[in-house]
Symmetry: C2
């Protein structure tokens, strides 16, 4: 059988081609239809990878994130692709590789649907320096991928106002008010979670996020949702009619944008808008590049959402405590593996009211597996758990009344002094952030050190951000907010009241151990004085930390108080929902340190 | 007598004129010759103010920083100038005022020597929008200011290598290496402290900083110092000859820059280079705008400078402790005022070896005077001190082996609970920064919250940065480093090993009280691990905090330990240099909390 990479070459009218792991909306999870990278690489090992493939007439290379640097290079070479490593020094990027391998005057093709406006500008600038040109309107995959899956047809449903707290027409009216500040006639939204948020609709096109493929254009006088009409039943049609949202077919976005008249101003986010969509906007329209207006509006949860989040986190906490009770009491008595842990936890979450599955693939990582930040157990690498060492479980659920994300590292038996110290440092870092006070107009980059300094004291760094925003029955990663070092995306945006986010410090020591603790918290008003409005973080997650992991001598008196107060609150909140044995167990687990 | 503002109008060939409080090097302290703003305003009250004056044919207005908002507006109006307030919302800036008051087609003049390249670009862009043009080559003051002081003729002297630790030729060689990264043939330095640092020369043109008016051009093959030749004696000439630095007259800078050939690359800092200098660079030379290379090189103190700083801070601490002993034991027994405090402290510093006066005008502020961040006592407002309330003293000295900056707030008798709480919060903020650990490549904006969060918890904000860099026998304010909130100038630059800086949180409550505590600290290597190099702050200042100001119940156990360890170190370090009474007093003052 002909290699797929050669099929591509047969159809390549230019000198090179680049394939990314994107969909046209830059979603975190992409549908099977858009998994061109995986299909082209032909390698099972690359499922879920993030990277790109570059192909010239003679050569091909594949870039992939560090999680996949130990894949079978020989197998990849046997299909004619060289392995490159993303984010490793001295390795050329895909664009640099294209520049090295093409001559001036030659042409590189991409599918402009899969690159953002910003990305295309960047690539074009780099290529043009060597007089290589870019053609951004080439979709080769469609003609060579014979059994390509269909675009997903997942059901679209209404997210009731008792959960989301605000009607779609009210949200659109807020957005139109902000559009006036720009004197803009149109606002194009391409990000699927923003569209779901504006319309109060949810879909089923992704595994873990309730999203649906669509575009939304909010004009001065009309709002149009571009979506596969087959997904919209009569009830939804009625709701959209009431909210004054028109429906057009998904692919009608191009012709609609083309008709925008001269001198009309169109707002769009160049990081979230794909190049083909951008390019189809009327030639003489005024394209105004901004951060999506919806970013901030969606991030500041309303009072109904906050109330629902609190309730949702109690349910998620019940599932977690039942899970921890089971694990601690069953370990050594029955066969438990990383994969059975995932299953157990999924089942416990499903028993909770309004649950709609997981918000991301569970990380269940035993011993040194936990040192890999995004470890995914499978039949091959699956460890059996014993009465020793630690298990890291990072998991979350989707509920109609919220999205959850929690990590606990669980002590199963003897651990080393270094492991106990590191557990305690991670807890100190979590408390450091949780106990930080700040004022309005402060940005994420200002807050990062509050937690991280506790790790720095012991010479430890983790390359993740400290906190990411979390959607409300939407994506588990939502930005803003972002708390991370200076330069981390979105960490230059203000942290505002009622933003909901994770707080997740960690220690990752390759081939040894990995510890992460993660609570969800929200920004609550603390005090208002002559100096302005001040905020604090209020914990949403209700689940104990493992006392066996804590070296109490490393905690100061304020930190001990924090742990004791938090544990008291966890016990008081959850115990009414637990059976006698679980309750007794939780009582002991929330003993004072 | 004709008002000066009218003299200016008589000589004004254009429609408006702008006068700033700058000198051609954007120095913090400017010489009498450049005090055009003060001269033109005719108001004694404005001595030391920061602002600008705008004049049209009919109107004139004066902008001034908040310290001066309560000056005699009527007196100012009587000479035909309206008072505007800098940094107050809804007040137009000087440029906005010009735009309001001129018609399209009219021309505004400025002296391009007194505006940086960046400032001129900004002003020009704003004016051009209303079709007003800018002429940046107008120096009216020279022709109307008949008794204008001369340019200062202060002596220039050598700063011995035993103090500064590195020869000028070695510094120039480091700079040339960095110039190579830019492929640049020339590097123009305009900032006086950078020139003093490169040449290891010091001058006497400012009151509190040992600087001299000059420009420095480092070329591939020659280094030229542009300076009033009368200031250079035979010895300095010899030293400069040995270090391969040529000397030209101060004003020769323009003709020198004009001769730079086509396509040569000239590096310069557009925030520090005045527009006239910039504009005189050869028309077809390639002007490359960067942060001054010297900023970083100067900021990372060498080992000799660090050693000297430590010794210098011991001497400064001795002076401070002698001062505190005197004050605490004399209050109520002899007449002490804010001004006599200044005098006493100056005399004590002068007694220390290698002292060369003050590094800035002492802030001696009693009771509510301390709520004004930059209060300056004079014969009019001078308070007499009593056995009650608090005195804030912010002061520093120049020594051949360092520059110092310290603030202590001193309890003289009964204070309120609020004052004691605020004192303790400021101390907690200082400890918060002092106890922060961080790693290489972290910037100032990342670190600010470590101290400030303690104030935020109680709804308090101060609008100053938390830490500024400090020169080595140079300016007391030196950037980088800067630790401040996101957006504060230079807070986006990395905090590096051996940077020396202040740590100065404060609380300012108008008409009530002001508390500031300020230590000097430097960045010391803490640990190096698989994750990189980690840093900590090591305290340089040796002077106790006032135990009477501390509410111990607000300190956690780590903070108490910090205070006790620091006080122990202060006692052990300083006591050998104190007399019996002072020693006994210091022993009590450094008791455990």
């Amino acid at each position: 059988m002909k290699k797929r990479i050669d099929l591509l070459r047969d159809n390549l009218e230019f000198d090179a081609y680049l394939i990314p792991t994107n969909d046209p909306h830059f979603s975190e999870e992409i549908s099977e239809y858009w998994k061109c990278f995986e299909w082209l690489s032909e390698l099972d090992e690359l499922v879920g990878a993030f990277g790109s493939i570059a192909v010239t007439k003679e050569k091909a290379a594949l870039w992939v994130d560090p999680r996949y640097h130990n894949i079978n290079e020989k197998e990849l070479e046997s299909i004619g692709i060289e392995l490159m490593k993303l984010r490793v020094e001295n390795e050329p990027t895909d664009v640099e590789w294209i520049i090295e391998n093409l001559d001036p005057g030659e042409v590189c093709g991409i599918n402009g649907k899969l690159y953002s406006v910003n990305q295309v500008k960047d690539i074009e600038e780099k290529l043009n320096k060597k007089n290589i040109s870019l053609n951004a309107e080439v979709d080769i995959l469609n003609s060579i991928w014979k059994d390509r899956p269909n675009m997903p047809k997942g059901e679209i449903f209404n997210h009731d106002i008792k959960y989301c707290g605000k009607s779609s027409s009210d949200k659109i009216s807020d957005i139109r008010n902000e559009m006036k500040n720009y004197n803009a006639e149109y606002y194009l939204i391409s990000a699927l979670n923003d569209i779901a948020w504006v319309t109060n609709l949810r879909g089923s096109d992704s595994n873990n996020s309730p999203l649906f493929y669509s575009y939304l254009v909010i004009g001065e006088f009309e709002t149009v949702l571009f979506v596969d009409n087959e997904k919209i039943d009569k009830d939804i049609k009625e709701i959209l009619f009431e909210e004054n949202i028109k429906i057009k077919e998904y692919d009608d976005i191009y012709s609609y944008l083309k008709k925008i008249k001269d001198n009309k101003k169109v707002l769009l986010d160049p990081k979230k808008t794909n190049y083909l969509t951008y390019n189809s906007i009327g030639k003489n329209a005024n394209k105004c590049e901004i951060n999506d207006i919806t970013l901030r509006l969606k991030a500041k949860k309303n009072e109904v959402e906050i109330k629902n989040f609190k309730n949702c986190l109690i349910k998620d906490g019940i599932a977690m405590v039942k899970f921890l009770y089971w694990l601690k009491n069953s370990i050594g008595k029955e066969k438990i593996t990383e994969l059975t842990v995932e299953e157990k936890l999924l089942n416990l979450r499903k028993q909770q009211p309004l649950n709609r599955g997981l918000s991301f693939d569970t990380v269940s990582a035993y011993k040194e597996h936990a040192a890999k930040c995004h470890y995914k157990a499978n039949e091959k690498n699956n460890y059996e758990l014993k009465k020793e060492g630690m298990l890291l479980v990072d998991s979350g659920g989707q509920y109609l009344d919220g999205t959850t994300d929690i990590t606990r590292t669980i002590v199963l038996g003897n651990i080393t002094d270094e492991e106990r110290r590191d557990y305690t440092l991670v807890l100190k870092a979590l408390i450091g952030t949780a106990n930080t006070y700040f004022r309005e107009s402060i940005v994420g980059a200002n807050l990062d050190i509050a937690g991280r300094s506790h790790l720095y004291k012991y010479g430890i760094e983790h390359l993740k951000g400290s906190c990411h925003g979390i959607g409300f029955y939407l994506s588990v990663h939502e930005f803003p907010p972002a708390i991370g070092l200076y330069g981390v995306p979105y960490s230059d945006m203000e942290i505002e009241e009622n933003m909901v986010m994770s707080n997740e410090p960690g220690v990752y020591k390759e081939d040894r151990h990995g510890i992460r603790l993660e609570n969800m918290q929200y920004v609550e008003k603390h005090i208002e004085t002559e100096y302005g409005k001040f905020y604090k973080f209020t914990q949403l997650t209700m689940c104990p930390f493992d006392l066996e992991g804590i070296d109490v001598s490393l905690l100061n008196d304020e930190e001990k108080k924090w742990v004791n107060d938090y544990h008291k609150q966890v016990f008081e909140t959850l115990s009414p929902y637990l059976d006698k044995n679980e309750k007794e167990w939780l009582f002991k687990e929330t003993n004072k340190v």
